[in-house]
Amino acid sequence: MMKLDYKIEGGDFTNAGHASSEVKKVLKKLNVDPKITRRVVVSLYEAEVNVVAHAYRGEIFVEISTNKIIIKLVDEGPGIHNVDQAMEEGYSTASEEVRQMGFGAGMGLANINKNTDELNIYSEVNKGTTVEMITYLDKN
């Protein structure tokens, strides 16, 4: 098993995508199927941007084993009022500023859901959100 972790700063769009690029490099070196690698990286990128756009700060914990990849993003932030609503395509609470930067189209969580085998969201309003994404490697 292998563990990686990364820190994210809220509002730092310049570095959003750093963790997903690093994780991608690792998965390629581990000979993980390119299609699975892409799904993992796409969902991690979305989740990273979510933290940058909405939270104050966060941390990413990645656990890679031969049968699954678990990625947990834990943030300190406003939390999500209604998780089910946030999962809907097109629903967004992103500020005008964030949208002008080309983010906040409201596809984030829906896209993550599509690209992971298991998605768990725990959120507490005014405290923060934990997003857990699990991808299985040994299904065929």
Partner: protein, 451 residues
């Protein structure tokens, strides 16, 4: 290590190589190491982009092309050249002189590749209308980019346009045309004049097709020298009247940056230069960018005008072709038709490319468990390395060395900094340290007689 199954056109001449490591530092895929005072290219990582050739101070990197005399194995010898070829000659040399000399030196037919662009262009637009394709479509034009995607961005193989290149379509057209004129297929030899190494590799080990339709590849630079000296000697036979079929503007400009992107539908981007392309494909792979319909990626800056086998400066080549476009516009209506439109159905049916297979070469081991162990080991080694990527170990970066070590291709003592530590601990002596340096850089460097 598995046997390499890809042919490479870039070779190192061990006689001339001085092991200076310029190429190692320029290689975008980190495919080069220095050992025994010579550069070595790893066939699995190399994508034939030619960046190494550009920086070699002693011209030790060469391109393995077909011998010019191979054309005489055929009764009908077709030269298929890209429009950049004409751009090599000074203004006072007319295209008709070039055609004439090409006949004089042995070709029976001389054709321009770009004549096939229009039919490809309309096929791309039809292809774009297909709803179940991966977006963005990545152009199949540049063979170095196709190899880059296979090796480094394997999850993007399905994004590659599954249509052939102008040179292959042009080859199909001219071959079929001659067959229809009653010439037997085995008497026809089609020779592509290449401005780059990647195209040679693409012909010798094609991607997405069984066998290349081109019979041989000739180095553009060598041919230019041959043709230009004949012109200088005045060996232009004016009795041979060439039949140049004029090309459309967009056909002439197709191989340059934006040539293709400006002619296809939707939101398009044109990216040139290996580093720029790699940076962008990285983003495409993460889906950091969305809403792009078509990506034109070229390994060389300014597209094919920047190919390593060009004789002339890339910007001057582009300028000359632009002037040719202007001249064409002045004599509108006098275009000699090539007759390609009669073959459009045949060409459209035959320009489909098969699957582009990923051949990811980045893994540390094919078994994930082992790969993970190797990666952990490599990380432990890397933190002990200085992180300055000096290249004195014969590898392009500290990370590359740490991975070479876990793959069993190097040892920690290859690092000059680690050597100092080992010496201070008395684990190795000065003599051993010198012996290691000799092993990497050859025995001349320590003696001070490198050059």
């Amino acid at each position: 290590m598995t046997k390499s199954f890809f042919y490479h056109a870039l070779k190192i001449n061990e006689e001339t190589c001085i092991g200076c490591s310029h190429c190692m530092n320029a290689c975008p895929t980190e495919a080069i190491r220095v050992w025994n005072g010579k550069a070595i290219i790893d066939d699995d990582q190399c994508v034939d982009c030619g960046e190494c050739e550009r920086v070699c101070p002693v011209n030790a990197i060469y391109v393995e092309d077909d011998s010019f005399d191979d054309i005489f194995n055929f009764k009908y010898r077709i030269a298929l050249f890209p429009s950049v070829f004409i751009g090599q000659f000074p203004e006072d040399v007319k295209a008709s002189q070039v055609y004439s000399v090409m006949r004089h030196i042995g070709f029976t037919h001389v054709y321009e590749v770009e004549r096939a662009v229009e039919i490809l262009n309309s096929s791309i637009i039809k292809y774009q209308a297909n709803s179940d394709i991966e977006l963005p479509i990545i152009s199949s034009f540049c063979p170095a980019i196709i190899r880059l995607i296979q090796v480094k961005y394997p999850s993007l193989v399905d994004n590659v346009l599954k249509l052939s290149t102008p040179s292959d379509i042009a080859a199909m057209f001219y071959k079929q045309k001659l067959i229809d004129e009653g010439i037997s297929e085995d008497e026809i030899g089609i020779f592509y004049i290449t401005p780059c190494a990647a195209k040679i590799a693409a012909v010798r080990s094609p991607v997405g097709e069984e066998k290349s339709i081109v019979d041989g590849v000739i180095n553009l630079n060598n041919l230019h020298n041959r043709v230009y000296s004949e012109i200088k000697k005045g060996n232009v036979d004016n009795s041979i009247i060439p039949e140049p079929t004029e090309l459309y503007d967009f056909e002439l400009m197709w191989s340059f940056t934006r040539g293709e992107a400006s002619r296809v539908k939707g939101r398009t981007l044109a990216i040139d230069g290996m580093k720029n392309v790699m940076e962008f494909l990285e983003m495409v792979e993460n889906e950091e960018v969305s809403g792009i319909d078509y990506l034109e990626c070229r390994a060389c800056k300014e597209g094919c005008a920047g190919g390593i086998l060009n004789n002339e400066n890339r910007f001057l080549i582009v300028e000359r072709l632009q002037k040719r476009v202007e001249r064409n516009n002045q004599k509108k209506g006098k275009v000699v038709l090539s007759g390609i439109e009669k073959y459009s159905e045949y060409l459209v049916n035959n320009m489909q490319l098969g699957e582009v297979v990923p051949r990811s070469m980045m893994m540390l081991d094919s078994d994930m468990e082992t790969a993970m162990q190797k990666m952990k080991e490599a990380q432990k080694i890397e933190v002990r390395l200085p992180g300055i990527d000096c290249g004195a170990c014969g590898a392009p970066s500290c990370r590359a060395l740490s991975e070479d070590i876990v793959k069993g291709n190097a040892t920690q003592s290859h690092c000059v900094f680690v050597q100092k530590v080992l010496m201070s601990r008395g684990e190795i002596n000065m003599e051993t340290a010198f012996a290691i340096i000799d092993k990497i850089w050859g025995d001349k460097i320590v003696k001070g007689s490198k050059k």
